[in-house]
Symmetry: C2
Subunit: 307 residues, 2 copies
């Protein structure tokens, strides 16, 4: 007989999450009968309302768990999992869309009112992709890039090799960073915003990039020097830019980046509200399946360790 | 000692193809010394100029080989390979770009002159993709869709199951075709243009599609009823349309499909001239590698069978 798992979704119970429990092989149950709880729709402080001695596992709805740690309700004897990594897929998908839009000149096509074949058509297939800040989003993007036979050059904090990257450099290695920026056909910025990464992509970097390379920023606007980028586009120092984040953000109405033929502004929509619930539902389904199969759950939290 | 392979590129010798020979492990050589020939840049009738008794293998530059068959120069004792399938990757990449542009509302963003978050943001991840006419392009597209956990529904002539598709129906099965069209979040048209496929996507089909589904046509314009499509967009019967091919083609200046907020016209650029040579170079590299490794070559031609 197959193992079953009684799961409660609450305090709020969106139908998408209840469907995900069932799709993962679980059985919906009242809180007091459930061995597992998918928490949704209320502050952590209310967790004790649904807690009970036989509760084994709690799936939290967010990637960051600071509020859960602060509330002090995480307890031993229950396994907690976060939604860490859930949204990487959504953001990476957007990044790939921006890269392909750039390669295939879709912004120019979208603006055309007549049948004009743009020049500068490129292919992602066989190209070199540099990922600055290769964390969860970068890893999801690398999976999406596999069918295109690209060479991935990665930069991350530690320099620890990223699976699927030809080579990984630590962010403090200026020569390595330079090599990634100058050899890539697509430079994808996915690094955190810190004082060290402020205006990482400046006039100097832009002039060193390939003249047909596209810059894609799905991290934070502060990483790119906007004025230098506008100049680089005007002077054709780079192929184009697709930005989900900008500095300032929002960009003022009529800013030249809105209309430049080789620029695309996506107004901070890589991970829109409307896609949060579907992404969480996928994680719930997968973790329910893993729990039933006895496989390790994704994104486990160690409350005693604090993460 | 490693096996070597002397290869001649001719009569024309683009540097990209010579580099591909070397990258595949081959050695460039004059025609009379070469065991392999990568044919480029002249009519088949000139083949005998470079033919010689020790020639083992000839890589042709095109997918269709009608002109080679007609010229009667293919001879026994030499293995010929075509470029069949070479361009499927390029076209499938374009199709994926159009799908992501639709899902993420990139056409509306490209046209915006201010910071406006579009609604109707979708995700390719976890969606259902219908491929009408799942041949070489469809297979390449399915590979690209794997990281997105999509459900692929396929239609092809024979109904022979397509690898990676949840289910495959023969094109003559009207009920199966209907199911694909009504259940898909993305309908990708990749079927050949025949009298039977003319206006396959008509008013009836469009009204049966999901109200948020995107139609992507990278096959031939005749497969979609353009007037019915314009009406379906106006009446919000479908989510949007991205068309690389149109009827008529080219679309007349100022046609409503150029400016509809949820339409994107890509002027027959899925496989642009500028990407033909890079795609052929990838095939040359791979077949040179395979020849040296003693593996079966891609896209072999049987001159006696005529294909």
């Amino acid at each position: 007989m197959e193992k079953s798992l009684k799961v409660h979704v609450g305090p709020a119970a969106p139908p998408e999450l209840e469907a995900a429990v069932v799709a993962g092989g679980g059985e919906l149950a009242p809180a007091e009968e459930a061995a597992a709880l998918v928490w949704f729709g209320a502050e952590p402080s209310r967790f004790p309302e649904l807690d009970h001695p036989d509760l084994e596992w709690v799936q939290l709805p967010s990637a960051g768990i600071e509020s859960w740690l602060a509330s002090g309700v995480l307890r031993e004897g229950v396994r907690f999992t976060s939604a860490a990594g859930t949204y990487a897929q959504t953001v990476a998908e957007h990044a790939l869309g921006l890269m392909l839009a750039g390669a295939r000149q879709l912004p120019a096509m979208a603006r055309a009112e007549s049948w004009q074949r743009p020049d500068r058509m490129r292919s992602l297939t066989g190209s070199t992709v540099g990922i600055i800040g290769a964390g969860g989003i970068g890893r999801a993007l690398i999976e999406m890039l596999r069918p295109f036979g690209v060479t991935v050059l990665a930069v991350n904090r530690s320099g620890k090799p990223v699976d699927g990257a030809e080579r990984t450099w630590p962010s403090e290695d200026a020569d390595g960073m330079r090599q990634v920026l100058t050899e890539s056909d697509f430079v994808v910025v996915a690094a955190p915003a810190t004082t060290r990464t402020s205006k990482l992509i400046d006039a100097d970097v832009l002039s060193a990039m390939k003249s047909d390379a596209w810059l894609v920023n799905i991290a934070r606007g502060s990483l790119v020097d906007t004025e230098a980028l506008v100049r680089a586009l005007e002077e054709e120092e780079i192929g184009g830019a697709a930005l989900d984040v900008t500095d300032p953000e929002p960009l003022p109405d009529g800013h030249p980046l809105f209309s430049h033929p080789r620029a695309l502004i996506s107004p901070h929509t890589a991970n829109p509200q409307s896609l949060l619930l579907p992404a969480l539902a996928r994680r719930v389904q997968e973790n329910v399946r893993r729990h039933i199969a006895g496989e390790p759950l994704l994104a486990p939290i160690d409350p005693t360790a604090g993460y």
